[in-house]
């Protein structure tokens, strides 16, 4: 995958920081860490009720964390000079990500092991693997996972259409700029607005224009959300409408970066349009294609907004995605522990799937290139 390709960074002579600055930096970092730890310990003791002094909420801890991060960065510069300055480029993003991802994820693992229903009076209770056990018999969850397989596979269809559009746009046409802007527009629209614009009004059974057109073409009963396959396809079509432009732009960029000589050589060799596409363009575009397909599948696995707002998973769970199902577990059943357990299992499945895909794709693109 292209995002993982590394260019070797250069080596520049390193300067040594003088001893006193070093000591000062070390003292600063140590002091800041001490204050941070002290604040956390005080707040924890306050929260469990051992001591009365403490803050009303945890927000001051956030401020202390921020100050600690700044002190740590300053300490790095003082202690390590030039190398510390370089570390400073990376540190903000690292501290930010660690704070907002690592803690919530581990906290989520803890919640997943709780029997916690917000609407019951009892409050959270530790239940170990009970949530996982009830997941095994939850047909709706497995159904949603099955639907995700369909939605993910449909990315190939989106890719085919997007490739065709990218080829059209890179052909010699008039008004290319106009078409490019127009083809890009659906990407800018919010899925929630699209849910209403297309799902609830264009496809409306009684007087939506799409239903009228379908009746005119001979489909007597244009119910887009009645049968399960039709509903699934309609949801998929709406998601494709929003997301095809993204794939198209990346492919278009790849096509434009392709050397012109290759195309001309194929033409000289007597290849017709289809042959030069299949034997020249497509193989050259394969690395870009794999990258965009993987990114698109990652985004597809998060699909929720359109489903929540148009069908709410119906009819009978036919259009449910994992995200929209868990959303309903949270909102309708207030079953917090169970929902989080389902989400964690889903995350584990995604990680396994993506690791496999990255492995395979790396081997695949290398063999061709």
């Amino acid at each position: 995958m292209q995002i993982l390709v590394n260019t070797p960074p250069p080596k520049v002579a390193q300067k040594r920081a003088p001893g006193r600055r070093k000591a000062f930096g070390r003292a600063l970092t140590g002091l800041a860490s001490l204050i941070f730890l002290l604040a956390v310990v005080i707040q924890i003791l306050h929260a469990i009720g051992t001591i009365t002094t403490g803050f009303a909420n945890w927000r001051p801890i956030l401020v202390v964390y921020l100050l600690w991060a700044i002190a740590f960065g300053a300490g790095q510069v003082l202690m390590r000079g030039e190398r510390g300055q370089r570390a400073l480029f990376l540190l903000p993003a690292v501290f930010f990500t660690v704070a907002v991802v690592i803690f919530p994820t581990f906290f989520g693992l803890y919640i997943a092991a709780l029997d916690w229903n917000l609407s019951s009076i009892e409050g959270p209770r530790f239940s170990g693997f009970d949530n996982l056990r009830s997941m095994l018999t939850d047909t709706y969850y497995w159904n949603a996972l099955g639907n995700m397989v369909f939605y993910a596979a449909a990315v190939l269809g989106e890719y085919a259409i997007a490739f065709a559009l990218a080829l059209l746009l890179s052909a010699e046409i008039r008004g290319r700029k106009f078409f490019r802007v127009v083809f890009l527009l659906p990407m800018m629209l919010s899925p929630v607005a699209v849910s209403w614009m297309i799902g609830k009004s264009l496809l409306e059974y009684r007087f939506g224009p799409a239903a009228t057109l379908a009746r005119y073409l001979g489909w007597d009963n244009p119910a887009f959300f009645a049968s399960s396959w039709m509903a699934r396809l309609t949801i998929q079509a709406m998601d494709a409408w929003v997301s095809i432009p993204f794939i198209m732009i990346i492919l278009l960029a790849g096509l434009q970066a392709m050397p012109k000589e290759v195309q001309e050589a194929a033409k000289v060799d007597g290849a017709n349009g289809w042959q030069s596409f299949w034997h020249v363009t497509f193989p050259i575009m394969l690395p870009v294609s794999v990258t965009v397909l993987i990114i698109r599948i990652i985004f597809k696995l998060k699909l929720a907004d359109i489903v929540i707002n148009v069908t709410a998973g119906g009819p009978g769970g036919a259009t449910d995605t994992v995200s929209s199902f868990i959303y309903r577990v949270y909102r309708d059943r207030s079953n917090v522990g169970y929902g989080t357990a389902l989400a964690m299992v889903y995350l584990a499945l995604i990680i396994v799937l993506l690791t496999l895909m990255l492995r395979l794709s790396r081997r695949w693109t290398q063999r061709v290139a």
């Binding site: 030039e82 929630v192 960029a253 870009v288």
Partner: protein, 307 residues
């Protein structure tokens, strides 16, 4: 007999290319126009519906002035039509409040992500890091792997966490979360952008006596403007349209536009004109951005994919 076949095939070879080329061009333009229609019709339908009355909706009138008489109906219900614009309107004040929230949240998150992301991307593109067992590739993978986290995984921990931090229903809380979701994309685009800038420029800056940060801020960053514009616009699009977290983490004060649109969708069929007006207002800013800043998006992504 054989002669006849030969001459026939010769003639066909002479005529065919021109016919086929005209036919091919017609097919290309037909396909282009078909997709243009597919892209534009839903937008056209929404915008026109906001000017329709109930009869025009049910009878599927499509073309203003020819088919139906446009009316400010939908916009009046939002308090945004010419006659209600200067009066007081609760619907308008709610809408404006959500609109401002959306702007604050999406611009705030995109700016924050752009700052963090550009710094990290420059570092990863120019220097060699080692943190425990992690090297540049591993650190990059760590950032990119945040992309796969589905919102449902973070939703509940954040709900509990924000309750403890008193960040529920605040724009600041949403900004932090949105920054996290777009940071990998910013790093991805910006790293490719920095990789495409020759390293000799950095070295020339060092020779001129600039420090590491001086070279970055004064020489490299201005050159990376196309990538920054693309990353910022893409982040803006993603944050402006985000619904899942906003629906779970905001209730009154910090509610964003998608949440407002979604809450109105429940009552379907009755108020088509006001729903259409609301949808139009919600998509208008990004449609304008798409029309006027399209070249930045494309050129920024080009450096990413065309390597």
């Amino acid at each position: 007999m054989t002669l006849l076949i030969a001459s026939d095939s010769v003639r066909r070879r002479l005529v065919a290319p021109r016919v086929r080329r005209t036919f091919g061009r017609a097919a290309v333009y037909a396909a282009l126009l078909l997709w243009t229609f597919i892209c534009l019709f839903p937008i056209y339908w929404t915008v026109t519906t906001s000017f329709k009355s109930a009869v025009d909706v049910t009878q599927a009138h499509l073309i203003p002035w020819l088919d139906f008489q446009p009316d400010w109906k939908g916009w009046r219900s939002l308090g945004l039509s010419p006659d209600t614009l200067f009066g007081t309107s609760t619907a308008r004040s709610e809408f404006v409040n959500r609109f401002v929230n959306s702007i604050i949240t999406s611009v705030g998150a995109s700016t924050l992500a752009l700052i963090f992301g550009s710094l990290a991307a420059y570092g990863l593109s120019r220097f060699r890091y080692k943190f425990a067992w992690m090297r540049n590739d591993d650190i990059l993978f760590f950032f990119m792997s945040q992309l796969i986290l589905p919102p449902v995984v973070l939703a509940l921990p954040f709900l509990v966490l924000y309750k403890a931090l008193a960040l529920l229903d605040t724009s600041f809380g949403l900004i932090l979360l949105y920054t996290l979701t777009v940071l990998p994309i910013v790093i991805w685009i910006m790293r490719d952008q920095f990789n495409s800038i020759p390293i000799e420029l950095d070295e020339a800056a060092f020779v001129d006596g600039l420090s590491t940060w001086g070279a970055f801020l004064r020489i490299i960053l201005p050159l990376a403007f196309p990538g920054m514009a693309a990353a910022f616009i893409l982040s803006l699009v993603l944050c402006w349209n985000e619904y899942f977290f906003a629906a779970l983490l905001t209730s009154t004060d910090a509610k964003t536009l998608p949440v407002m649109v979604a809450s109105q969708t429940g009552s379907q069929g009755i108020n088509w004109w006001s729903m259409a007006a609301l949808s139009t207002a919600a998509i208008a800013p990004l449609v304008l951005i798409g029309i006027f800043l399209e070249r930045y998006i494309v050129s920024g992504l080009t450096t990413g994919a065309g390597k």
